[in-house]
């Protein structure tokens, strides 16, 4: 089993994702430079956080045109699991691999803190093993994480069960106070219709060691590892 972590100019959570997979989960992991046109033999792709191309125009707007993104689209349409984290989520939105769009945080400031998440769907490769008894604790760190979907899209997301994570309080209640950026319906993460592409603003790769505040991100990586092992064995 092998994971690929994309590297764009300006990515800065690429090493964190690599560390989480390689050193915490012990999974063979490789960086994939944005100028590559092929992704090689990887079983899952992480589109990491950071500020690709400085995020100067719109977050993710320039990165989506990187050569590697065509290969990522092919990989996704073939059913391969893709996880976009933070800037990676923004890139997947700009690349139309996920629906909706991202706006600046409601309070118009960057925000970095631990938040609580409710996992709304275990039917994705990244959430299959998330326990349904607890809320997840993970950091967010973004200036543009205010996910927006118009009424029609929002309804569609609900109908198809594409909302994967929502911000909540410690007891799992979806409240306005627990929403760090003003996203519609407290959405923190979604998946595509085929459910293999997931995008989320919180950082599971920063939550894999108790020492650093939380290890709930491991549920997500364990899920995809379990999922892939099962696929290999069956």
């Amino acid at each position: 089993m092998k994971f690929g972590v994309l590297v764009f100019p300006g990515s800065n959570c690429d090493h964190d994702a690599y560390h989480a997979l390689k050193h915490i989960h012990g999974i063979d992991t490789t960086f994939i430079w944005h100028k590559e046109t092929e992704i090689g033999s990887v079983d899952a792709i992480i589109v990491p956080g950071g500020f690709s191309y400085g995020d100067y125009l719109r977050s993710g707007a320039i990165a989506r045109f990187s050569p590697v993104m065509n290969a990522v689209a092919d990989f996704a349409s073939g059913g391969g699991p893709v996880l976009g984290i933070c800037n990676g989520f923004q890139i997947l939105l700009e690349a139309r691999l996920l629906p909706g769009t991202m706006m600046a945080n409601e309070q118009l400031r960057f925000t970095c803190k631990l938040v609580h998440l409710k996992c709304e769907s275990r039917n994705t490769p990244f959430t299959g093993s998330v326990p349904d008894t607890q809320t997840l604790r993970m950091p967010v760190a973004h200036g543009e994480g205010n996910y927006y979907a118009d009424d029609e899209l929002y309804k569609k997301l609900l109908d198809r069960n594409q909302v994967v994570f929502r911000y909540c309080d410690a007891n799992g209640n979806i409240t306005p106070e627990s929403n760090p950026n003003g996203s519609v319906g407290n959405i923190a993460g979604i998946c595509n219709e085929s459910r293999n592409v997931v995008g989320m603003m919180p950082h599971p790769e920063r939550a894999v060691e108790k020492r650093l505040g939380s290890d709930h991100g491991r549920f997500l990586f364990n899920s995809v590892i379990d999922n892939l092992s099962y696929a290999v064995n069956s």
């Binding site: 191309y53 400085g54 100067y56 125009l57 320039i62 045109f65």
Partner: protein
């Protein structure tokens, strides 16, 4: 009266947004685009029919708040028919 304001970075000030966008356009094959500068467009509704008064209000708004006078210039555009 509606007043339009275009705010641009002064000529010699570095524009990282423009620079990054220009580079991306080059990579996408826009070879004849030789420069990109990114600014702001602002629309003001001013409660007057006097163009001079509207201009003055807009100027003051720019100087005081809308433009960063340390590094930006502004241009005020009034409707053509006044």
């Amino acid at each position: 009266m509606q007043v339009e304001i275009v705010i641009t970075l002064r000529e010699s000030i570095l524009d990282p947004k423009g620079k990054a966008s220009h580079h991306a356009l080059e990579n996408l094959g826009f070879k004849d685009i030789t420069g990109v500068r990114i600014g702001k467009f602002i629309q003001l509704d001013v409660d007057t029919n006097d163009p001079d008064q509207a201009r003055r209000a807009a100027e003051q708004a720019c100087e005081k708040l809308l433009a960063n006078m340390v590094m930006e210039d502004y241009e005020i555009r009034l409707p053509d028919n006044v």
